[in-house]
Symmetry: C2
């Protein structure tokens, strides 16, 4: 669900909003190793419906998913959009966030913070590349390749540290992370990059000696539960409000 | 999708809104003869989340469907809720609104206008029964029983006349309706009852000589396409804006 003012800027190109609505839902399927079958849209009508439809069509074409149906409504005030993506699991058991085990290695598929830089470029009108924020790409092929290999998997939508904390807590273990091993889009702003969401990389764990079918950065190790779910460079972190975007 | 101010009154019991959100989506499944498998909710948080959860739980229990997942968001302004109901077709071909054929009879499962009376009771605080408006019941068992028998089926959500017009147009035929044969909740206000939505009765067509598995009112006959999709007591009706709730 995306609400004007909360999930997108009022003046933002509504085609980008449509794209993102599709992409972030497909990212949830990617984290399950699922093949997308189609999407259902709940759409609040506005003055820019044609432009929304363009972005929606572009996203559906890019990711090979049909728009199956949905609902259109009229309302007052900030607009809201809802999308449900349907998919079919490609591997059983379906990966979730509860399966990380002591001895596993922790991985992430790519750099964090690219969406943050894109957001700032858009907000400040610098002309710098904002594609990572406006048009994220769900890692569908990567998720399917990883599903048979991982012990736990989720997409990083609310910040790497927060999502690591959640996965560690759900798995009743501790994630020990090595800060400099975590790929970021802006090394001078590492702490922010680790707390910004919207990148839609995949975070996963797997037995440390298991070969991976795709490239990924090894960012830490899973240990038996210690003082807190998360330990970054020796610091125990246990306040989720300081780790990322809570909603 | 339901938006505050458009689909429900600002002061309305939010438990009723939750119930209705489930019920109207399951009604779409009923019209397809489908068995519901579960629902996914997009929920804008507010101050009455516990009360919403109560109504949601009551509806899910009443209709035997689990809440499978969804999304919660924060936003400003009028609240919006989206729900996707998943179901499995019980009969192929799945009924739709395009299959009405000349010679078919037209049926509706029950009285129209009950929701109108309920809405007015609630709005005016008369203390009269408002259950039909607040807590509609999707006709799931009826829809499944009818699916193998009907030539076309849909639920009446926007007014009987408008939905008849739509079904006739989609089937490229004319629906000839007999006004007095149409069951209404308030005979003195027949014209309004035929134009008010929210009753969630099932409208369907079937060959005139085919026995029906449930009780239904026969309200007219399907003819080859004439001057307009709809003819009520000899009057040709072709202005959808005057037939029901357009959105």
């Amino acid at each position: 669900m995306m609400i004007e003012g909360t999930h997108f800027l009022a003046g933002q190109d509504i085609a980008d909003v449509a794209w993102k609505l599709v992409a972030v839902n497909l990212s949830d399927l990617a984290a399950k190793g699922a093949e997308p079958l189609g999407v259902l849209l709940g759409y609040a009508l506005g003055g820019d419906d044609a432009r929304f439809a363009e972005g929606l069509a572009e996203a559906c074409a890019a990711f090979g998913v049909p728009l199956l149906g949905g609902d259109t409504v009229r309302g007052m005030g900030p607009r809201s959009f809802g999308l449900t993506a349907l998919g079919r699991a490609s591997h059983a058991p379906v990966p979730d966030r509860r399966g990380a085990r002591a001895g596993d290695a922790i991985y992430v598929t790519g750099a964090l913070g690219a969406a943050m830089l894109g957001f700032e470029a858009l907000r400040d009108g610098t002309g710098a590349d904002s594609l990572a924020y406006r048009r994220p790409r769900p890692l569908l092929a990567e998720g399917r390749a990883l599903a048979p290999v991982v012990s736990a998997m989720m997409d990083v939508s609310d910040g790497l540290l927060l999502d690591c904390w959640r996965m560690a807590r759900a798995s009743q273990v501790t994630f020990r992370l090595h800060g400099t091993a975590i790929p970021v889009a802006a090394t001078a702003r590492r702490a922010e990059c680790l707390r910004w969401g919207d990148d839609y990389q995949l975070l996963f764990t797997a037995p440390a000696d298991r070969p991976l079918p795709i490239a990924a950065a090894r960012i830490g190790s899973v240990e038996a539960r210690g003082r807190a779910p998360l330990c970054l460079d020796g610091d125990w972190l246990n306040d989720p409000d300081r780790l990322g975007y809570q909603h």
